[in-house]
């Protein structure tokens, strides 16, 4: 599903080159549940942005779902984000003036899918247990509920991969457990999940833990036997 070879990312800052990612090589198969763990500032968010097609590597190759994406232009990357990728962010990133279902349909607006958006939204909201919060605004929902709306939004285009950047970082332990529960369900349905976190409890729930330090992968291990 994801194949990364010799990936480098270099930022130019104040006339200096800062190497954020240093020769990353990584292979993730379809259906894996991977957590990428590192203390902050170690390049894990940059890696996630590149894997999520929001950013481009300085050099190296990246093949996503059989398609080399490192040289694609902005429009093609947008199309891939829209059709193959779902995002879950630490701070939810819901549009505050829109109701739960209106937030959920956002990816459909920019897709070529002309089916009934409302109906689809109801389905995914039900799958994350929010069928009775469809018309609520984000501020009327708890943090855990907001994150579940965000997960529903990530799911609405039926993407192959879900990327989550510290999905439980702003949540209490009960909500965190709910969110991780949903992730495990998605995993059991065969979806590929990549979660970035610095919380060992969250990381431990994945099948595979990749640890990073100074822009490099320093550990890559399986926690459970992968099927």
């Amino acid at each position: 599903m994801i194949n990364v070879q010799n990936l480098f990312k270099i930022f130019h800052k104040d006339g200096m080159d800062v190497q954020i990612l240093n020769n990353i090589t990584l292979d993730i198969k379809e259906g894996e549940f991977v957590s990428i763990m590192a203390p902050s500032g170690m390049g894990k968010s940059t890696l996630l942005n590149i894997l999520g097609c929001l950013d481009k590597p300085t050099s190296g190759t990246y093949i996503l779902d059989g398609e080399p994406v490192q040289d694609l232009d902005d429009d093609e990357l947008s199309r891939i984000r829209n059709s193959k990728i779902g995002y879950v962010f630490q701070s939810f990133h819901l549009l505050p003036r829109m109701t739960a279902w209106e937030n959920v349909i956002l990816p459909l607006i920019y897709s070529d899918d002309d089916s009934d958006m409302r109906e689809k939204a109801n389905e995914v909201l039900q799958s994350v247990g929010l069928q009775d919060r469809v018309n609520h605004l984000p501020r009327e929902l708890s943090g855990g509920q907001q994150q579940r709306v965000a997960i529903a939004r990530a799911l609405i285009n039926n993407p192959k991969i879900i990327f989550a950047d510290e999905p439980t970082g702003n949540l209490d332990s009960k909500s965190s457990a709910e969110v991780m529960n949903i992730f495990r369900n998605l995993h059991s349905q065969g979806r590929t999940l990549i979660v970035v976190t610095h919380d060992p409890n969250v990381g431990a729930q994945a099948d595979r833990i990749i640890e990073m330090k100074d822009g490099q992968i320093c550990d890559d291990r399986w926690t459970k036997l992968s099927s």
Binding site: N49, G52, L54, D55, D74, D75, S78, R79, R81, N82, S83, Y87, F89, H93, L94, L95, R97, M98, E102, L106, P107, L108, I109, Y110, S111, D112, D114, M117, R153, N157
Partner: protein, 402 residues
């Protein structure tokens, strides 16, 4: 359809920010309202010129006593134009079909019982009503025998009827006109205000003989209306009239005419010259306010793009292309200015209707100015929105989502 879904998002955003949207509209509303009003009055003025020319008569020439006169502008009347001039124009110039010599005088006191008013007194021939295309809905116009017998009979305008008679039928009543008793024999058709603001319904028409001998006691007249047979020979006829009058008035070569000849072409030229300078000025004003409207929209859009960085980032993350973001912001600015255009256009039309009632001004069609103004508004939205929308589309999603 993607574009419909994106438009719905743009409307949603406008509805969520009503105050912002209204402020964005304000400049366009004002600009479009003035533009609609002005275009309507320009069109009105043009159709007014045409109707004025038609009222004057396309086959008619007016000779006014005095040099360098303009129609509708009062000046002391020279005494050189005589009723005999009119008769000789009719008899000596072959293309002349009819003439109507007349005396016009404003501010003539008129009295009925204990009520007083002032009238525009016209002393004319029996063909006056026909030449000036005026009906007599009540009573009749005076006839030849009344003219030759210097009868004291008068046909009065609707305003005078309203002021003096208070619902009574004026026909057959005695009025006092400049200290002379007159019998009202008819009422003139309602004509409204003249282009120069004169109330044409405050006119009173009496036989020219009666006017000259019994009211004014003078042997000269104010003007002669001439009807020609063949309009194509108008220029020649004007020349003939000019030569004839110069000869009759014993004017040596090089001496200025002591009369002025007015033709339909001259009236058209005068009227359009006056209105066009004024209108260019007004149209400039409304274009300036539309420009200000565009600046306001652009500014608020820039602020809004900055405020909505996170929103743009989210939309980009879920798959909106740069073009999608650009389109969406452009739809917002165009919709705002389009709505502003509709509101402004409608208020412009209301203004037009109010003005035409209050000031008795003439206005032209309403649809054309509305369409022009709304088209301008859409253009304003496009021009004002393009830079902010471009800025929005180049927002870096990674930065925006931090």
């Amino acid at each position: 359809m993607k574009i419909i879904r994106m438009s719905a998002q743009a409307f949603r955003s406008m509805r969520d920010n009503k105050v912002r949207s209204f402020l964005m509209m304000l400049g366009v509303i004002i600009g479009v309202a003035t533009l609609t009003t002005i275009v309507s009055s320009v069109l009105g003025a043009r159709s007014q010129v045409m109707s004025r020319v038609e009222r004057f008569g396309l086959d008619q020439i007016m000779v006014m006593a005095g040099a360098g006169r303009k129609p509708g502008v009062p000046q002391p009347t020279p005494t050189t134009l005589k009723i005999e001039d009119a008769n000789s124009i009719l008899s000596e110039i072959s293309n002349v079909k009819d003439v109507c010599p007349q005396i016009n005088r404003r501010d003539i006191p008129i009295k009925y019982q204990n009520k007083n008013s002032y009238a525009i007194l016209i002393a004319a021939n029996t063909n006056w009503a026909e030449i000036w295309n005026t009906q007599i809905p009540n009573g009749r116009f005076f006839n030849d025998s009344e003219v030759s017998r210097l009868n004291r009979v008068a046909v009065i305008g609707q305003s005078l009827v309203n002021e003096l008679f208070d619902g009574e039928d004026p026909v057959g009543k005695q009025i006092i006109l400049a200290n002379n008793p007159f019998e009202v024999i008819g009422v003139l058709e309602k004509k409204g205000a003249s282009p120069t603001g004169l109330d044409l319904d405050s006119r009173i028409v009496v036989p020219i003989s009666t006017g000259m001998k019994r009211v004014f006691n003078q042997d000269y007249i104010t003007n002669i209306k001439i009807v020609v047979s063949d309009v194509n020979q108008m220029t020649d006829t004007v020349n003939d009239v000019k030569m004839l009058l110069r000869e009759r008035h014993n004017l040596a070569p090089g001496v200025e005419d002591d009369f002025t000849i007015v033709t339909p072409t001259l009236i058209m030229a005068l009227a359009s010259k006056v209105s066009s300078t004024f209108n260019i000025f007004l149209i400039l004003i409304s274009l300036v306010s539309l420009f200000v409207g565009a600046v306001v929209i652009a500014n608020i859009m820039f602020i809004s793009v900055n405020e909505r960085k996170a929103e743009i980032g989210i939309r980009r993350a879920v798959g909106a292309t740069r073009n999608d973001i650009l389109t969406q912001f452009l739809i917002e600015s165009v919709t705002v200015s389009f709505l502003g255009g509709i509101i402004g256009g409608l208020s412009g039309i209301v203004t037009v209707i109010l003005l035409s009632h209050l000031m008795k001004m003439h206005f032209g069609a309403l649809a054309t100015p509305l369409v022009i103004s709304i088209a301008c508004a859409i253009l304003v939205g496009l021009v004002a929105g393009i830079q902010p929308a471009r800025k929005a589309s180049y927002t870096d999603p990674i930065e925006a989502l931090k």
